[in-house]
């Protein structure tokens, strides 16, 4: 006996899954579309084998090595490009170059150009250059942040002081004066005057704001002194008494390094005073003990000038001084040269192996087949370690301003002091 309900259900189920085509009476061709899709995928996979995980070759040691080498190469290119870009950004204008050149000329002035020390001469004149004892801590003036703000960038402790002020001087009569020959004085005044005029030009505020600290002319002090020759990288300090100058000048990244020789009357007294200072005030190459020449050698950061020399203030004179100005250009140059020397061995070794830029995968595999991988891995490891050290050195060298001070006893035949 049949169940009509069940019969209807069974009939309905057959109808639900009845074979159908896309269009009634027409043969479906879904398989053709699937075939086209599959062929297109295969073509795409041929062009980009790595897209399909099935075709992705397992990375071999050599492949990983070359990936690492590629990374190193890209990093080197980025470093070099950043350096070039920084140089381009910081390239001084022609007028700035002229100013910098005049400074360097003065800074590296040969001994024949040194001014004669004239004791007791007190006449204020345009031919007379007053040195304000750069290494001295006596009259350090507070840091003028207003001026830095006016220039559009921060300056650390740069004091706008003139060592060869062409106007009135407030030096005491017992100070030693430096006298230049008239020709030399005119030359200095002319070269420095050009820089000052440009620096105070209000018509070019953007250019001023963009300058590096080392190239900026701190001649915008108003109301105190008329413009004169800038003190920073220019003049010598011989003969200046300790306590007369402005140590704040050194608290600036504009000075990369400086060497100062101070003569004191009693070296033992200076030695005792120095030994009372905590060693933390000095750098790692300081020799606080008297050496064979009965001299102290101190290394410290310019920022520690006050602490380091405060105890012997007024007990000696600066007899020799040289400074090396600092700027971003020199720092980038240093970093680039350090990095380049580290990368060069890698490049040479790679070339020995026949590896060159722009190789395709096929060529690389051929090179890898005949390469001594152990040797190459060792070379790369050494090179990377070397690069790390060089970069670390370059990093240390940036932003390190050092002052080296030698304190020695004044010779009996010293002609400076009367």
């Amino acid at each position: 006996m049949s169940d009509p309900t069940l019969d209807n259900i069974e009939r309905g189920l057959r109808e639900m899954t009845e074979p159908r085509s896309t269009n009634e009476g027409e043969q479906t061709e879904l398989w053709k579309r699937a075939l086209e899709i599959s062929r297109a995928d295969e073509r795409s996979a041929l062009i980009h084998p790595g897209r399909d995980a099935e075709f992705e070759p397992k990375p071999t040691r050599g492949r990983r090595l070359f990936l690492a080498l590629n990374g190193v190469g890209v990093a080197a290119i980025v470093v070099l490009a950043a350096g070039v870009w920084t140089i381009a950004i910081n390239a001084p204008s022609p007028s700035e170059r002229a100013t910098a050149a005049s400074r360097v000329e003065t800074m590296t002035e040969p001994s024949t150009d040194k001014p004669e020390m004239v004791a007791g001469s007190a006449e204020p004149s345009s031919k007379m250059f007053e040195s304000s004892a750069l290494a001295d801590t006596g009259e350090a003036e507070p840091f003028s942040r207003e001026i830095a703000a006016d220039r559009g960038r921060p300056q650390l402790g740069v004091e706008n002081d003139m060592i060869a002020d062409l106007g009135d001087t407030d030096l005491e009569s017992d100070d030693l004066r430096l006298r230049l020959s008239p020709d030399m004085a005119r030359s200095r005044a002319a070269s420095s005057g050009l820089a000052i005029d440009e620096a105070v030009d209000d018509a070019a505020p953007v250019e001023i704001a963009a300058r590096d600290e080392a190239l900026m002319m701190p001649a915008e002090v108003e109301g105190e002194r008329p413009p004169g020759i800038m003190q920073a990288p220019m003049a010598f300090e011989e003969g200046r008494r300790l306590g007369q100058g402005n140590a704040g000048l050194f608290a600036t990244p504009a000075i990369e390094s400086a060497s100062i020789v101070i003569e004191v009357d009693d070296i033992d007294e200076a030695y005792n005073m120095m030994n009372e200072l905590p060693e933390a005030e000095f750098g790692e190459f300081s020799e606080i003990d008297l050496n064979d020449a009965r001299a102290l050698t101190l290394n410290f950061s310019p920022y520690r000038m006050n602490e380091a020399l405060d105890s012997i203030r007024g007990r000696g004179s600066v007899v020799e001084e040289s400074r090396k100005p600092d700027n971003q250009l020199s720092r980038v140059n240093l970093a680039m040269s350090n990095t380049a020397t580290a990368i060069e061995p890698i490049r040479e070794t790679l070339e020995e192996y026949g590896i060159r830029p722009g190789m395709n995968e096929h060529e690389r595999m051929h090179v890898l087949a005949r390469i001594d991988r152990e040797e190459l891995v060792g070379m790369v490891e050494r090179a990377i370690a070397d690069i790390g050290r060089q970069i670390e050195d370059a990093k240390r060298s940036t932003g390190l301003s050092r002052v080296r001070v030698s304190i020695k006893e004044r010779a009996e035949s010293d002609t400076i002091e009367e």
Binding site: D3, P4, T5, L6, N8, I9, E10, R11, G12, L13, R14, E15, M16, T17, E18, P19, R20, S21, T22, E24, Q27, T28, E29, L30, W31, K32, R33, A34, L35, I37, S38
Partner: protein
């Protein structure tokens, strides 16, 4: 291993006899003869569309499921190992695709939506679904079955598959198929029987 060398094959339920076996056609396709795939499609594409439409309750989804079935046949044809017949293998792929699409695209929700829409046509006694006459109440009742019961009844009543082949497609013993089928039919009869007593029979 692809079987070959069989001279004549009869499709169960269809009464059609094929001169070349499905396995032979697949081997020819794997060796580069695309027309062999066309021949396979001529045998099974319409059937697969019908099965998938019943499984998914949606014509467009069914077409997508069948197209993806062919894609897998094309891509994995060379790995066919002959443990099951090509026909069973393709049905297995299609069932799996239906399951995936059903989960991913809310086929159940869609079926229910279709059902509710078709409730409006209940006075006509029938609804139109891609040209075929299917009782909407039966569709709704099938949708209410558990997944394995629904697959079982649709495969077993699908033209072209024996119960044994349905068991192979679902990967269960034939006894399990019969048990599921019996339970599913009882549920459907219970669901539709009450409506029959109210004078809304499912017959055409």
């Amino acid at each position: 291993m692809i079987q070959s060398g069989v001279s004549q094959f009869e499709e169960p339920g269809s009464g059609k006899a094929h001169a070349v076996s499905d396995e032979r056609l697949l081997a020819r396709f794997v060796s580069g003869d695309d027309e062999a795939l066309g021949e396979l499609a001529a045998r099974y594409e319409a059937q697969l569309i019908g099965l998938c439409t019943g499984m998914l309750g949606d014509r467009a989804l069914a077409m997508e499921a069948v197209q993806e079935t062919w894609l897998r046949v094309i891509r994995h044809g060379k790995t066919y190992d002959g443990r099951a017949s090509v026909k069973t293998w393709m049905y297995q792929i299609a069932i799996n695709r239906c399951r995936d699409l059903g989960r991913a695209r809310g086929a159940r929700t869609k079926r229910e939506l279709v059902h509710h829409q078709r409730e409006g046509d209940i006075r006509k006694g029938r609804s139109e679904s891609d040209g075929k006459t299917v009782d909407p109440r039966l569709e709704a009742a099938v949708s209410g079955l558990e997944d394995h019961q629904r697959e079982t009844v649709l495969l077993c009543y699908h033209r072209g598959l024996t119960h044994k082949q349905a068991a192979e497609v679902l990967g269960v013993p034939i006894g399990t198929i019969k048990s599921r089928l019996n339970k599913a039919l009882v549920k459907l009869r219970d669901a539709l029987g009450s409506e029959t007593t109210t004078g809304r029979g499912i017959e055409a």
